[in-house]
Symmetry: C2
Subunit: 439 residues, 2 copies
């Protein structure tokens, strides 16, 4: 028999609606799962079992709410009024915000149960965490939405909220064999997410199926959800191998090749898209804008808590402070040019297709054995983040260590819903189920 | 002899650097001025004389800092670590943020002294406040940056920080005879300004001269300041009379006519610019996007503190909650089209010129005599706010009640520094010094 924790959000919701499963039974199953796996995984910064149980017990099968009774995790850079929010930093140890972030309120208003706060790299930026990859606990879960990805991959919860400013949702989703989504910038309110870089900060969504991610996205957007929606026509995919793909591992390039082959075999038109030369600068432009804006967002922490900052974050802030404003403004203008150019790049295609991450999740703990040595590199997503575009990642390939390598589908600004339907089509073709060592 | 409180920021700075004036003397003069006028004006939500004096006493004439020793006020929707931040709402009575907002840190790092928090309409949105116009205390200061505008106009401080999401800096600046600036969206970090509408929220700047506003802008942007910078060529002004100018008072239209006449007489080329028909929808589009996004940003307050919300704010949130997301997305697409079209509208001109406000500051207290009946209408600025453009307002005209009516100059996105130099040129032509009843 399927345990409730194994259900996708959509399946669980159907059973709650049908009175085959109560929200409390689902939550208890998830809590039991967490009790077993959390010591190995380390996905959670805070768990509010009591509050979640109280909320679950109030759920009636006939109540409204697109996510009625579905337990979710929220990345700990997103503010919650009834749980601490520590932004992954000792500077905010025990910090209690006064209000819930906009996305938390939207999820609650749709009946979701906020089970807890998930581990994040400090300030959703950089620094090391202990969250292990449930598919192989010698490997990192990635970051910065480390805990959200691991909790969903470990089936502790069906879906989770993260954030993305560089690759913080797409990369850990790829590492954990998940479907991950970074929406078009600005469409889901970031109010209550302490900003790092306003030019790139978005809420991120993670699930184990395209349906579940679409359920979460439509809930946060307050749009109608229609399970299993397919594109009106067979999609046209624009496969692209940017200059920075050469810096990835072979498994990332293999994932793109495999996607191209399988999508084409399944009857889709697949075009080879060359990016304009000016796009070669975009990863560097993203990095500089990220650091410049982050240095402003975290000026208080830098000046007043310098010694408590993770040295990696401190280094990025210092780099951002050293960047002349004139250079920043020049980069901002170039980023805007890239956004204006993108419609001609994607012309004729439903989405671009490229590698979601530089390969499999990296292996190896630090010397103390309490954190991973690296969370992986954001290079493959920087360009799409600074272009403010919607991205969906789906599993595609398995690398030499037996871990998943995803592809990312990149859509036009504002085409999020259509991109999800195209991702569903692609996922049905590429279906690859990573095995979980810990299950 | 000129009292120190009467000095512009630039003049005060020169005297501090020359050791003709100490930062403490300047601050004491401002505090004495506040003590006399504050009971009549009501500009301040919180004053930290002790903290400000301690900071002023540490100022040495040879220290670095582009705003060394200059006392400023900060609108009380902007977070401060050492003063409460109440967002103009009883919900946040005594609320103490953990950190300083990015703009507060930038000002402090340039040597400015944060004297206190200025009165704001609740959440920089709507609702009534008591802040009187120093030029005639029977009239409102406007809003939502009510206290910042009044404090600068009353010469309690030389410059102040506000915000603008609709017309919250430009309109009160016009009502108080000030120079006001709303920068291009995103260039000054809004981190630590509790968002209302991320598509429009900016920090706003106010002073009694273009030089002072430019000093504040360059300080917050960490760019070099060069006093009295003039445009390289005689500017070309595009005077525009949008359809919504018909809804303004005659004095607003007179201000535009006067500006056109005087700028032209002074040797500038003045063109008559007709806006595209699609721009007629932009005020409504701004309003709907503002309300939709605000409803998300303030969902927690709406659900948990509904009775403590100002009825006007509650009404806007309810309107935002009722707006279908599909309609919001359609408006967002139209706003983006307007942004893409703007370069062709302004082609050949350095800036557009139009009325900054619907007329003079409205008169009249509410029934209890503790708040004004109205803060004025944002109609004249909605379009430029949703287009995310830089705006500078300068005094131009005097209306029938003897109060100032400004014009606003609107520039291309990112042209903020050039716009300031054009504003300086225009201000020297239009120089109109409103008399202050309370001085």
């Amino acid at each position: 028999m399927t345990e409730p924790y194994e259900l996708t959000a959509c399946d669980a919701l159907d059973r709650i609606r049908a009175k085959d499963l109560s929200a409390e039974e689902l939550l208890q199953s998830c809590l039991a799962r967490i009790e077993v796996l959390e010591p190995k995984i380390g996905a959670w910064a805070h768990i509010d079992s009591k509050g979640a149980l109280a909320a679950a017990r109030k759920v009636g099968a006939a109540m409204p709410g697109a996510m009625l009774g579905i337990p979710i995790g929220v990345k700990d850079v997103i503010e919650t009024a009834d749980m601490p929010t520590e932004y992954g930093s000792p500077i905010f140890k025990g910090h209690q915000p006064a209000t819930d972030a906009a996305c938390v309120m939207s999820a609650k208003e749709e009946g979701a149960i906020i089970l807890g706060k998930t581990i994040t790299q400090p300030f959703a930026c950089s620094g090391l965490v202990r969250t292990a990859n449930p598919l192989n606990t010698d490997h990192t879960s990635g970051g910065s939405s480390s805990g959200s990805a691991a909790a969903v991959a470990a089936k502790m919860i069906p879906v989770a909220i993260g954030t993305q400013s560089a690759s913080s949702t797409i990369r850990p989703s790829s590492y954990n064999g998940l479907v991950g989504m970074r929406p078009s910038l600005g469409l889901i309110s970031v109010s209550g997410f302490k900003p790092y870089t306003a030019s790139c900060d978005t809420i991120g969504l993670m699930g184990r199926s395209v349906d579940d991610v679409e359920l979460l996205w439509t809930s946060l957007m307050r749009l109608p959800f229609q399970r299993g929606r397919r594109p009106k026509q067979t999609p046209v995919f624009g496969v692209t191998r940017p200059s920075w793909l050469a810096k990835a591992e072979q498994s990332a390039r293999d994932a793109v090749d495999k996607a191209e082959r399988l999508l084409s075999s399944a009857g889709a038109e697949v075009r080879d898209i060359s990016l304009p030369d000016s796009f070669n600068e975009l990863p560097e432009i993203h990095e500089q804008i990220h650091d410049y804006e982050g240095a402003r967002s975290y000026a208080y922490e830098y000046v007043h808590h310098r010694d408590e900052l993770d040295p990696r974050v401190r280094g990025l802030i210092e780099r951002g402070r050293a960047l002349p404003t004139e250079t920043y403004l020049d980069y901002m203008a170039k980023a805007a040019e890239g956004r204006a150019l993108f419609p001609s790049v994607i012309a004729g295609c439903d989405c671009l297709v490229t590698a979601a991450a530089p390969g499999e999740a990296p292996k190896g703990w630090n010397a103390l054995g309490d954190k991973f040595q690296t969370m992986g590199d954001p290079m493959q997503s920087r360009t799409w983040s600074i272009l403010q575009l919607p991205i969906v990642t789906i599993p595609c390939h398995t690398g030499p260590a037996g871990l998943p390598v995803g592809i990312q589908l990149i859509g036009r600004y504002g085409s999020d819903l259509q991109l999800l339907s195209v991702a569903r089509w692609a996922a049905s073709v590429l279906a690859e189920r990573p095995a979980m060592a810990t299950s």
